[in-house]
């Protein structure tokens, strides 16, 4: 009789053990929709790769909470409505354990409502619009530099160099509409004259009118809230139309390596705001850059770094929460103050980023140097930029 009981207990425990092991081996499903096609496709490519790299690395480290991580990505075609549907699918059909954000503020704005409704914490690495965090949501978390802090460094550099007149313009989309007014305000605070050239629609390819008006107004500093293709086109046309500003501070364009590749020596002396640089001395950054280069054959840009950083934040929050309970994860995300490869992560109670500021970079001698803030700088800023006619 005793032997039967022991045998039964043994069988039961083995079965439980196997069952437990199976459950433990069940992967942690991380879901997101990314813009694999449509107007945001280019930026989302880097985000996709960063997500994949992180998953690969975290699995090599033993996964999350001892379980392997699996990524599930759908294509939202750069359309907020499709994104909403896909996040509903991820949540109710695929039953993902964790959510991460899509690309662009527009899509994030729409899908964050889904996350909030289902009370799933979502780290949204590629969303910058302040309004997303002004709605009283509690489950969405910002990683990226807030747009209002993009150009502050550039304006301060201009004031410090004694340049008195700044012209501002930007693409008519989310970040410029936060960044440019903030920059204009800071400029006015510092006693500079500001000329507003207005916003131009997304997809504009011809900037001759903007440049001509800046030239006519006599502005010596051109600040533009734009993306990379516009920045490239602006410099090309500035040269064509012979507009030699003393400082060019363009948004996120000049920070990307493609900028210098496309413009060659014309990229020299152009400044931009950078969320991140491969050479920034944040913890683990060098390893991240090397791994990314190895896996994808190209250097990561800040989209990749921000997305990877966002995943690091998620991992840290999960460690602190100790489980997949969304409320515990949410609390951890609110309280976390850590350094990622991307920079510092610290959010307000609403989830908006407050700890991360943008670096100002400048192309000098074919190299991208960090020129602001002074304590993080790798070189001094070169102001004024020589006129086009004087360059050889």
């Amino acid at each position: 009789m005793k032997r039967a009981v022991v045998a039964a207990l043994l069988v039961v425990s083995i079965v439980c053990g196997l069952w437990g092991a199976a459950a433990a081996q069940k992967p942690v499903l991380v879901g997101a929709s990314l813009s694999l096609s449509g107007k945001y496709a280019k930026g989302a490519e880097f985000q996709n790769q960063a997500y994949q790299l992180w998953v690969e690395q975290v699995n090599a480290r033993g996964g999350l909470l001892g379980r392997p991580v699996e990524l599930r990505i759908y294509d939202d075609r750069s359309d907020p409505a499709t994104g909403v549907r896909l996040y509903e699918k991820l949540i109710s059909e695929d039953r993902v354990d964790l959510l991460v954000g899509p690309y662009s503020s527009a899509v994030t704005a729409a899908v964050s409502t889904v996350a909030e409704k289902h009370r799933l914490a979502m780290v949204a690495p590629m969303a910058a619009a302040n309004e997303i965090w002004q709605r009283g949501y509690r489950y969405v978390f910002q990683v990226i530099t807030p747009a209002s802090l993009y150009f502050i460094g550039g304006v301060e550099l201009a004031a410090g160099a004694g340049l008195k007149h700044v012209a501002v313009t930007g693409e008519d989309s989310d970040y410029p509409r936060d960044a440019i007014p903030a920059a204009a305000r800071r400029a006015t605070e510092l006693g500079l004259q500001v000329t507003d050239l207005g916003y131009y629609p997304k997809g504009t390819k011809d900037f001759s009118s903007i440049i001509t008006r800046a030239k006519t107004a006599g502005a010596l500093v051109l600040v533009c809230g734009c993306y990379e293709p516009d920045a490239i086109q602006l410099i090309r046309q500035a040269k064509e139309l012979d507009y030699s500003a003393k400082m060019y501070v363009f948004g996120v364009g000049p920070a990307l390596p493609e900028f210098a590749k496309a413009l060659g020596k014309d990229a020299e002396f152009v400044m931009g705001s950078d969320h991140w640089d491969p050479r920034v001395k944040t913890p683990g950054n060098a390893e991240f850059v090397a791994a990314f280069q190895r896996k994808f054959g190209r250097e990561p840009n800040y989209h990749a770094a921000g997305s990877y950083g966002g995943m690091q934040v998620l991992e840290a929050a999960l460690k602190q929460a100790g489980s997949l309970d969304q409320d515990k994860i949410r609390q951890a995300l609110v309280r976390l103050d850590i350094a990622t490869i991307f920079g510092r992560y610290k959010v307000t109670d609403a989830g908006a980023q407050t700890g991360k500021s943008a670096f100002i970079i400048q192309w000098q001698g074919r190299k991208k140097e960090i020129v602001w803030p002074p304590d993080a700088a790798s070189a001094r800023a070169v102001i004024p930029a020589p006129a086009w006619a004087d360059r050889r």
Binding site: A41, K42, S209, E240
Partner: protein, 278 residues
């Protein structure tokens, strides 16, 4: 000045669309994608081998010519006599296939061919070199097309098919081959436009939609099937855009261009569907 030069490129972009509509009454929704395909091929040749676009177009244009012929025989020919929407949706489907192909082969990134930067200085005006060149080539190509249609046997066959297909058939013209030729020609012209376009602005696989809107505007302004009208249309559109961008605001310049388009459309007196004489 800028407006006139821009018009040159617009004409080139629109001429192919015009030709196809004139000959077979099909609005080729994939026209923009064909332009883009040529742009991307030119850009690749440049980045891989450093070939100047003026050289690579000697290969790109004939390749696209053949591609156009193939597309016409396979996809367009069956929908030639069907209601407008059928051919429109067919070419739209084609455009999706081309966009996807572009995305798979080239990725979503923009490609540019940074040659011929810098400008000629005429007094106080800075005239970008690349636009002068584009204008020159576009003008030459348009004139060549005009001459072809007016003077050569094949050109006459094309015009005959455009004006009266059944009559043309009875006169012994192989209408199907003529249509294939017309579409192939249109694609070749689109390819030429694409090769030149990528020198001026960066191109990615998804800008075809924007391009075709511009081409539409030109074609509609000048009258579908009317070559000379297309030239006028391009001039109006390009100058309206440049004017509006400078004096009104960059945001509204495209809207102004469209409003001009709409206004002129509504003012047209004669039957807009008459096939032109050019």
């Amino acid at each position: 000045m800028n407006g006139v030069l821009l018009a040159g490129l617009y004409v080139l972009m629109a001429v192919g669309l015009n030709l196809v509509f004139g000959v077979m009454r099909v609005i080729n929704f994939a026209h923009g994608e064909l332009i883009v395909l040529a742009s991307l091929m030119t850009a690749s040749a440049f980045t891989a081998y450093g070939t100047s676009p003026l050289l690579s177009l000697l290969v790109v244009v004939p390749v696209m010519f053949l591609l156009g012929y193939g597309i016409e025989r396979l996809v367009i020919e069956p929908v030639v006599d069907t209601p407008q929407m059928v051919s429109l949706l067919t070419t739209f489907g084609l455009s999706l296939v081309l966009i996807n192909g572009g995305l798979l082969l080239w990725g979503a990134e923009e490609r540019a061919v940074p040659v011929l930067t810098g400008a000629f200085r005429i007094g106080t005006l800075a005239v970008p070199r690349v636009r002068v060149l584009t204008f020159g080539i576009a003008a030459a190509a348009t004139l060549a097309l005009y001459a072809f249609l007016r003077l050569s046997d094949w050109g006459r066959a094309v015009r005959a098919t455009a004006q009266a297909p059944t009559m043309a058939q009875t006169c012994g013209i192989d209408v199907r081959r003529v249509r294939g030729l017309a579409f192939a020609l249109a694609t070749a012209l689109a390819a030429l436009a694409g090769s030149l376009l990528v020198i001026m602005i960066p191109v990615d696989p998804q800008v075809g939609g924007l391009l075709i809107l511009k081409a539409f505007a030109v074609v509609v302004l000048g009258g579908l099937g009317n070559l000379l009208g297309a030239l006028l249309g391009a001039l109006v559109l390009a100058n309206a855009e440049v004017f509006a961008a400078y004096y009104v605001s960059p945001v509204l310049s495209e809207a102004v261009a469209f409003l001009v388009l709409l206004g002129l459309l509504l003012l047209r007196r004669h039957d807009p569907l008459a096939v032109g004489t050019a």
